[in-house]
Symmetry: C2
Subunit: 230 residues, 2 copies
DNA sequence: CGCAGTCTTGACTGGCTTCAACGGAAGTGG
DNA sequence: CCACTTCCGTTGAAGCCAGTCAAGACTGCG
């Protein structure tokens, strides 16, 4: 794995902050705290943001670009736990050690705040405290849903679930622009790159999707996909 | 699925409460709150404790017996998310709807408390508040570890991981007494019952474990299992 | 003792992986 | 701006791990 870490620190401008909050729908204590207390850092594609086993210092929010978190087995098999896109908070952990490695998928700008600052703020701000818990709970829910995907779904169902999920997170719910490679998708879905590719082709042949470019998927028949999604 | 729900309500005796706290190692706010505020309920084997989609009212703690939580696909495929044994708190969710169904694996006694009571207590008890968050975070970590198992490990590795995990939770770290059936293990590990059975036989043939009875596994060579665990 | 549920084992199948080759897009340097 | 290189994605062929189907053994309970 290649870690070409070129980072560049800047104070977030008021303009940026406003844009972020607009993107989040409404100003929230956690987002607000990150925007106020945080620095903005830029990571190059494939740069490591933090590594598994490292101490947990910071909490992050994606401003632009995308981030993957993953675990490795000793022989190199990789399981991606989550993809984080613009607006997502990630790296919020309760323990002292990182459970995942986080890397930028594409060039990414993230806001960074010290976890200790957030926790300190939470003492006097009950809303923030509850939001920290809620964020962890939401992450748990997503992970639990993913368990079902990895444990019991077939390749087609996994890909369909993935596409519908991505559609629900992007700006359009029909056109999905994928920031990640086929290999990333494979490692997220517990498949191989070949199976992901073949499955997408198959879904296109079945008129469920269109693939104008490899990184863009148009959901042509969401009902069919939803049926696969169970 | 059979739901023979025979439940019996009783006030927890001081004796019981003390025993539970002793089992937990040390008195903790969450446990204490459950013990104080909670009722004790008995569920028969296979009885449903709560169902997916139901409103979240209660939080539970296993006194004796064991509990499984799971999701179903429309065609009956089942993914077990977690097994809960004596001392475990379960059913603590942040949202309004249950994400899993919970059932007693064997006859089980659980303490029950209203979530609203706990949350109310947490307002004035910062330790409890932090413990609620920590509990969710710990559950998240276990689920993330399980993701790697389901996404990237082979049958042998899955079973080895499972056995080592169970050994770490029981009273003996060598003798594992399984409260659950092979089918439950299969649905937890994303395998079939036949594969679980065959894999256990294989591990016994390889002198890594012994199977004196089908529900008791003796870990004979933890290093070998650990190697499979990666 | 008989029955039902659970577990094991065998034979075969199949879905996904592995191995391999190729085509195309994107980035780089001359 | 084009040739070169590298990365990425697709497709094909073959193999294998786990699933499916089936039968039988074991266990506990009425």
């Amino acid at each position: 794995m290649l870690h070409q870490e070129t980072s560049q620190l800047t104070r977030p401008t008021a303009q940026k902050v406003a844009a972020i909050e607009a993107a989040a729908g409404q100003p929230q204590p956690l987002s607000a705290a990150l925007s106020t207390a945080g620095m903005s850092i830029r990571y190059a594609r494939n740069a490591e943001i933090y590594g598994e086993g490292e101490p947990v210092d910071n909490v992050y929010k994606v401003v632009s670009g995308a981030v993957r978190t993953y675990k490795l087995l000793s022989d190199g098999r990789r399981q991606i736990g989550e993809f984080h896109i613009a607006g997502d908070v990630f790296g919020l952990e309760v323990g002292s050690e990182r459970q995942f490695t986080a890397e930028a998928i594409a060039d990414a700008v993230v806001l960074v705040a010290k976890r200790s600052s957030l926790v300190a703020l939470a003492v006097s701000d009950a809303t923030l405290a509850s939001e920290l818990w809620t964020h962890t709970a939401r992450e748990l829910r997503r992970t639990q849903d993913h368990l079902l995907v990895l444990g019991r779904k077939r390749a087609q169902e996994r890909v369909a679930t993935f596409l519908l999920d991505m559609a629900g997170r992007g700006r359009s719910d029909i056109i999905v622009d994928l920031p990640m490679s086929r290999q990333d998708i494979a490692d997220y879905l517990g498949l191989t790159i070949e199976t992901v590719s073949r499955t997408l082709t198959r879904l296109e042949d079945d008129r469920a999707i269109e693939i104008p470019t490899s990184r863009r998927i148009v959901l042509r028949d969401k009902r069919a996909l939803g049926h696969l999604n169970n």
